[in-house]
């Protein structure tokens, strides 16, 4: 917008106002001039600079009192001129500098004059502008020793302003002005590049101001937080720029020992300082005090920008003055390290970056003194750590621990200096152990139970969890999760940089030393190993991993051994477990282990002979096991595929814990196995177990030899069997023999667990070796059946369009079949021992004299069945039930080996009859199921025996019980008698089908049960009876039809042919009987 481009034009318009101003010095005239100046271009103004400045300077210089307003406007105008032009002459610069400075100077005192704030601001800005406008070359000549007094005067003036003024604006302006004066301005157009000598000259000059500047700034910085962050930020910046310039190692290194005589007068020479070694030492010491004050104060400053500036301060000072400020390194590093975990992400990021930069530049590692200081700091921190952990709150702990973490990060491999000192290692470990103490008061941990028994279904892919996500812990001394995270990082770093053998040894010692330390030591060990591989650690030092894989594996192996040793692995985690132990060792009878549920009140057991474990101790044991399990997972993670070699010792104990009743333990074990899967490349837990079953078998077979010490062994076998396939059988065959041998030894005590193993085993066998011949054989049986015509008859018999031929054919068939049937029945009576084997089975026994070698599974099933015969009459109902299930499976497996099955069935028969006739209803039901299976496989063999031994008794008891139940009230359904009736009614139906009972026996069954169709019977019994008859109808619909109609006949029958006489059935139609409802229902089913 400049209107007047040429000096001539400009001169034309400026001259009148300048003259005017020279004549009468008023504010108006000054403003007049300034208004004109705005219309003049910069280049024109540069030409006329001296001319324009004259009236202004004249005004300032005129002696006598002046109005402040006038001075202010003059200074503003002057500033305007200077901002658009540059000062090219040194004299002018000096004079202007003096004149401007003088504006604030009251002649009477050295204090700033009591002038208005506006004036102060104007002058300060004026000075700033002046220095900016100084032309490149002259600025250096300006800073010669002779200027020292005047410069010093201005500096102290400005410092006073910065410190004393109330106005924030003035303060900032003063600080900025100082920055400009000391040539540390950071604005773009004022970059003066100085060569080394010039820098040194300036440094020498400014050194005189250092004490004043640093103390004054420190006062400002450590002043009230309320003064506003920008002032503190500017002060900090000025502080580090100034100190960094004057104390720069680079400059100081070139300061000669002897002071060169400056060619200046004596007075000034006295003001000059010579920066020789002593001076540096002294100044460094004094600065250290200030810096310490500053870092302490600022690192807790509420505004993040201030803390960010502190990071920059640390960076600048440590990079430039690491030698001269050696005393301050400690506080500076501490501040920086502390800020790494600052809550503000900007500060965090920056301090992290600075730390990285330091590490890259080898500021710490490459510098002996530096490392010493850090070690010193770490030493003292380690010393005070236990006390701090005791007294601080979560936030305090957090910052202390982040400091520790920062030191470790910075020191890197050098932390070993500290760790090698036993005293310090001890302090450090004590502190870690102390702070990691768990809170073990909660009862929930002890109470929580695992319910589903097959929790191994999860595959690692399904539950893809980050490997390092761990169970929530409750600590005694802190609740903040971040503190725990920090602690883990600390341990990992220790493991990464520290001497792993030393650390592991140390913490293993603590682990063994006392149960109080054990859990914490284990946690630390776990993290150390993870850290040692360096997978989670961000490395500032580009360190090569020291621990070789073999070494690491050895270390892990030794820890693993310790973890899984008898006294650390088999801990009392619940009352039941303890009882088991007692039962085993003291051979105490009576108390049985299967009593308690999850809400079992531990405290309600005051009279136990031994002092019962407290909840705390059980809780603690649970955590210990969990931590150890988690550790094994960590180890797997750390070793990767190398862990495969440890599976032989690790898998068995973990599997043992996977089946633990306590929820937390089984969870921890499962996740540890997941980690193993990940590490060793198995895609599921099943895969892991299946592929390593040989290791498991080894553990199982050895532990079976010492069952008293390893009561969980059968459990592991069970889990393994569930998760394997047929390829396991050759390996497991001898173990099964061991199991059976052990079972024979411990019939009375450990039968429960063994029976469930046998169950798992046979279920597995049945699944692995399904009988492929079964369907064929069954169909053969069907064809050979005596009643094969029945389905056809069923269809036809119910057909309404019956012809005479049909009837005739029917009758003929019937007679023929009846003949055959009669003949067969007599056969069975005479030779009931001979089983009617299908031709195929005959073929399989090629040479009758020689016992063919049985397949392993058959041999096992045979051996197991033999044991079952003994166990069938066990005192414990649960065992009896389980044994019946096992027996059922045995029959399934042995079905194709009738030669083995029949003798065994023969031997099992008496006790099976007992189960059927007088046992608990539950057992009766299961026994029926066994009979059902058995009937399917060797029906002919069983039929007659059943009809002879069992049926009469059952029918008799049903008949005698019927009147009682018919009369009974609602409570009856809770009695044993009722349950037995129900069981028998429910069991008989399917059995009749599988045994393929003959007509007479069927009638016996039907007769006995007919009463239960009465509406007077309890509903449940009626239902059971109905289902029984439905089963019977499948075997012999006609006779049942007749029987039912004998009870109640819903309709009249008209003969199909007039030549036949009408039929009159027993139950008269229309007549209501107690049986009506059920009979109608059944007849409807028949149609």
């Amino acid at each position: 917008m400049a209107v007047f481009d040429t000096p001539q034009e400009a001169f034309g318009i400026l001259r009148p106002v300048c003259v005017q101003l020279t004549k009468t010095q008023t504010v108006e005239n000054v403003e007049h001039l300034q208004a004109r100046l705005r219309a003049v271009s910069d280049s024109a103004l540069q030409e006329l600079q001296q001319y324009v400045l004259f009236p202004l300077r004249f005004t300032l210089k005129t002696p006598g009192p002046k109005r402040e307003r006038l001075i202010q406007s003059v200074v503003e105008c002057l500033t305007f001129v200077l901002s658009s032009t540059c000062v090219k002459e040194q004299e002018l610069l000096q004079e202007l500098f003096s004149e401007l400075s003088a504006c604030l100077y009251s002649p009477n005192s050295r204090k700033p004059a009591a002038v208005s704030e506006e004036l102060k601001l104007a002058v300060t800005q004026g000075l700033s502008t002046l220095m900016h406008s100084a032309y490149g070359d002259i600025i250096l000549t300006f800073y010669e020793p002779s200027i020292l007094p005047r410069l010093g005067f201005a500096v102290s003036l400005l410092l006073d302003l910065a410190e004393q003024e109330k106005s924030k604006q003035i303060k900032i302006a003063a600080l900025q002005c100082l920055q400009v004066l000391l040539l540390q301005c950071d604005c773009q157009d004022h970059q003066t590049s100085l060569d080394e000598n010039e820098q040194k000259q300036l440094g020498d000059l400014f050194a005189s101001f250092l004490p004043g500047i640093s103390t004054a700034l420190t006062r400002v910085i450590t002043g009230d937080f309320k003064q506003g962050h920008s002032i503190v930020v500017s002060s900090l910046r000025l502080f580090y720029k100034t100190v960094g310039f004057i104390m720069a190692d680079e400059q100081l290194s070139r300061v000669s020992k002897v002071q060169a005589k400056p060619a200046v007068e004596q007075r000034i020479a006295e003001l000059m300082t010579h920066r020789e070694a002593d001076w540096v030492k002294n100044t460094g010491d004094k600065l250290a005090i200030l810096i310490k004050k500053i870092t302490e104060c600022v690192s807790v400053h509420p505004h993040w920008k201030v803390r960010l500036e502190l990071v920059q301060l640390v960076e600048a000072l440590l990079l430039k003055c690491s030698q001269s400020l050696i005393e301050s390194t400690g506080p500076l590093l501490k501040a920086l390290v502390g800020l790494v975990s600052d809550e503000s992400p900007e500060v965090q990021a920056h301090s992290d970056q600075v730390l990285r930069h330091f590490a890259d530049q080898k500021v710490v590692v490459g510098n002996r003194a530096f490392a010493d200081i850090l070690s010193e700091n770490l030493h003292s921190l380690a010393t005070s750590l236990p006390r701090l952990m005791n007294s601080q709150d979560d936030q305090g702990k957090f910052s202390t621990l982040s400091l520790l973490l920062g030191y470790l990060k910075l020191l890197g491999p050098k932390i070993n200096f500290v760790l090698n000192s036993m005293a310090h290692l001890q302090r450090l470990s004590k502190a870690l152990i102390q702070v990691l103490e768990l809170d073990v008061a909660s009862i929930k941990v002890v109470e929580e139970r695992r319910w589903n028994s097959d929790g191994l279904s999860a595959s690692p892919k399904e539950s893809a969890r980050p490997w390092n996500q761990i169970q929530r812990r409750y600590f005694r001394f802190f609740t903040d999760e971040r503190v725990f995270l920090l602690l883990r990082q600390i341990c990992q770093l220790l493991g990464f940089y520290g001497n792993l053998c030393l650390l592991v040894d140390h913490f293993m010692e603590l682990y063994r030393e006392s149960v109080v330390y054990r859990k914490q030591a284990a946690m630390i060990l776990n993290e150390l190993v993870v850290g040692a591989v360096g997978l989670e650690v961000e490395d500032l030092h580009k360190k090569q991993i020291q621990t070789s894989p073999e070494e690491l594996r050895e270390i892990v192996t030794s820890i693993l051994e310790e973890y899984t040793s008898q006294e650390n692995w088999y801990l009392v985690t619940c009352i039941e477990a303890e009882e088991m132990e007692e039962e085993l060792t003291v051979k105490q009878s009576g108390l049985h282990a299967i009593t308690s549920g999850p809400t079992f009140q531990v405290t309600s057991f005051p009279d136990l002979p031994k002092p019962s474990p407290t909840i705390c101790s059980m809780n603690s044991n649970i955590w210990q096991i969990c931590i150890q399990l988690e550790g094994i997972g960590h180890f797997a993670y750390a070793l990767g595929n190398d862990f495969r070699l440890l599976l032989m010792s690790a898998l068995y104990p973990i599997l043992e814990k996977a089946g633990d009743q306590t929820l937390l333990i089984s969870q921890a074990a499962t996740s540890a196995m997941m980690d193993m899967c990940h590490a060793c490349g198995y895609n599921s837990l099943q895969h892991l177990i299946n592929q390593n079953s040989d290791y498991l078998v080894n553990g199982i077979s050895l532990n079976l030899r010492h069952l008293a010490q390893h009561p969980h062994t059968p459990k592991v076998l069970e889990v393994m069997l569930r998760n394997s396939d047929a390829s396991l059988l050759p390996l497991v065959a001898d173990v099964v023999q061991d199991v059976l041998a052990t079972l024979d030894q411990f019939y009375d005590k450990r039968a429960t667990s063994f029976v469930s193993v046998l169950h798992a085993l046979l279920a597995a066998l049945a699944q692995w070796f399904p009988d492929t011949r079964q369907p064929q054989e069954q169909s053969l049986e069907k064809e050979g059946s005596h009643f094969s015509w029945r389905p056809a008859a069923l269809e036809k018999g119910l057909d309404n369009t019956t012809t005479a031929e049909d009837i005739e054919q029917f009758l003929l068939n019937y007679l023929k079949e009846k003949d055959v049937a009669d003949g067969n029945v007599s056969d069975f009576d005479s030779e009931e021992e001979e089983p009617s084997v299908s031709p195929e089975v005959d073929k399989s026994d090629v040479c009758p004299g020689v016992e063919p070698l049985l397949p392993v599974q058959t041999q096992i099933a045979k051996d197991v069945m033999e044991r079952c015969i003994h166990l069938l009459s066990d005192k414990n109902l649960k065992i009896r039930l389980k044994v019946l299930d096992v027996l059922d499976l045995c029959v399934v497996i042995l079905q194709s080996h009738q030669n083995q099955l029949l003798p065994l069935a023969h031997r099992a028969w008496p006790s099976l009859v007992h189960r059927l006739v007088n046992d608990d209803p539950l057992a009766v039901l299961r026994a029926f199921k066994v009979l059902h299976t058995l009937g399917g496989k060797c029906g002919d063999f069983l039929r007659s025996r059943f009809c002879k031994d069992v049926l009469p008794k059952l029918a008799g008891s049903l008949a005698t019980q019927a009147p009682i139940s018919a009369r009974a009230g609602p409570i009856y359904s809770h009695t044993l008698a009722f349950k037995l009736q129900l069981a028998v009614l429910q069991g008989l139906g399917p059995l009749c089908i599988s045994l393929d009972l003959g007509e007479g026996d069927l009638n016996k069954v039907a007769d006995a049960c007919l009463i239960y169709l009465s509406a007077k019977q309890p509903v449940k019994l009626q239902e059971a009876a109905r289902s029984l008859f439905l089963h019977l109808m499948k075997v012999d619909p006609d006779s049942i039809w007749l029987l039912l109609n004998g009870l109640y006949c819903p309709e009249q029958f008209t003969p199909p042919h007039p030549s036949l006489c009408p039929v009159q059935l027993g139950g008269a139609a229309g007549q209501q009987t107690p049986y009506t409802v059920n009979v109608l229902h059944l007849l409807k089913e028949l149609q």
């Binding site: 070699l645 040989d694 078998v697 080894n698 050895l702 030899r705 010492h706 050759p730 001898d734």
Partner: protein, 329 residues
């Protein structure tokens, strides 16, 4: 040796190898050819298979099938090269090349005997070695120079001695004097004879058992040997300067039948494989019984010691138990 007492009355094997699927009749420890040289255990089974077990992973690394389903009775690696000798009841001695993961038969020798007698080897200047095996005649032992397979001689007892078949063989040579190969032979009649191979004559013979000798081992440093037979006793005998065998003592056992006797390489322990399913450990110098290892459920057919003191026992129950006993000092 400061022998610590065993921690429990019933010691456990360190681990058990399963999967031979038939009775184990021969065991031999060796070092893996390549890499770190991990310890390997070779086992020969009734079904004619030789399993190579890694003791590090405790799993079978390889299965060698070269005896046509006939029982493998003897396994021995040659000190030079990674070659394995296996003797089977198919009347063949096979030489296997196991180097660099190869499993190939490189040579074989026909055996004229069908008995259970195990052969024995004596390493000479490499690559030569001497092999003693039961010979064609009922009571003969044949000596071969290997690997050329040239017959050196046939050792036949004098007529009318009626020693019966050779049951076990042990070739050795005195370390100090001129290396003359000797052969110790246990015969069916229960006697042990010392042969001088080069002169083809019996130095000395003692009748130390009344039943056939099933196994013998000789400690050439102490000039003492031990033999086990089908009867209930172990015999310890010594060899004096005149090369005469002399029975030092016999050791009564609870149950009859010793299938194998082995002295540990450091000559401190003696292990016997018993038909009573048990392995017995003795102090070799004093013959003090130290332990009874009761694990197997069938007769133990063979025992073997590794160079580091590990003991393996193979049994008819198809398992191989590996025991860590009083560590080698």
């Amino acid at each position: 040796m400061a022998a610590p007492t065993l921690p429990r009355p019933q010691p456990d094997p360190q681990f058990v190898l399963r999967g031979t699927q038939s009775a184990v009749h021969a065991l031999h420890f060796c070092r893996e050819a390549q890499g770190q040289g991990c310890q390997l255990l070779l086992s020969g089974s009734l079904s004619g298979l030789v399993h190579v077990w890694s003791l590090q992973t405790r799993r079978a690394l390889a299965t060698l099938d070269g005896h046509e389903g006939q029982c493998v009775t003897w396994l021995q690696t040659l000190p030079h090269g990674h070659q394995l000798l296996s003797q089977g009841r198919d009347q063949r001695l096979c030489l296997w090349d196991l180097a660099e993961g190869r499993n190939a038969i490189v040579d074989s020798v026909h055996l004229k005997s069908v008995g259970f007698c195990r052969s024995t080897v004596l390493a000479r200047a490499p690559p030569r070695w001497m092999l003693a095996m039961p010979g064609g005649g009922n009571d003969e032992v044949e000596i071969l120079e290997m690997p050329s397979k040239t017959s050196v001689c046939t050792l036949k007892p004098e007529a009318g001695a009626k020693l019966g078949m050779p049951m076990c063989l042990e070739l050795w040579q005195q370390a100090d004097s001129s290396p003359r190969p000797r052969l110790l032979t246990g015969y069916e009649d229960g006697s042990v004879a010392l042969w001088d191979v080069s002169e083809r004559k019996v130095y000395s013979r003692i009748a130390c058992h009344t039943e056939p000798v099933m196994g013998l081992d000789f400690d050439s440093q102490k000039s003492r040997g031990v033999s086990g037979s089908a009867e209930k006793a172990l015999a310890v005998w010594s060899l004096d300067e005149q090369q005469a065998l002399k029975v030092c003592r016999t050791h009564e056992l609870t149950n009859p039948g010793i299938a194998d006797v082995v002295i540990r390489p450091d000559r401190k322990l003696l292990a016997t494989a018993g038909w009573d399913h048990r392995v017995r450990i003795f102090h070799w110098r004093t013959m003090k019984p130290l332990a009874v290892l009761d694990f197997h459920t069938s007769a133990v057919n063979c025992v073997a010691f590794a160079s580091d003191g590990l003991l393996a026992a193979g049994s008819g129950d198809r398992r191989i138990s590996v025991w860590s006993l009083y560590q080698c000092t």
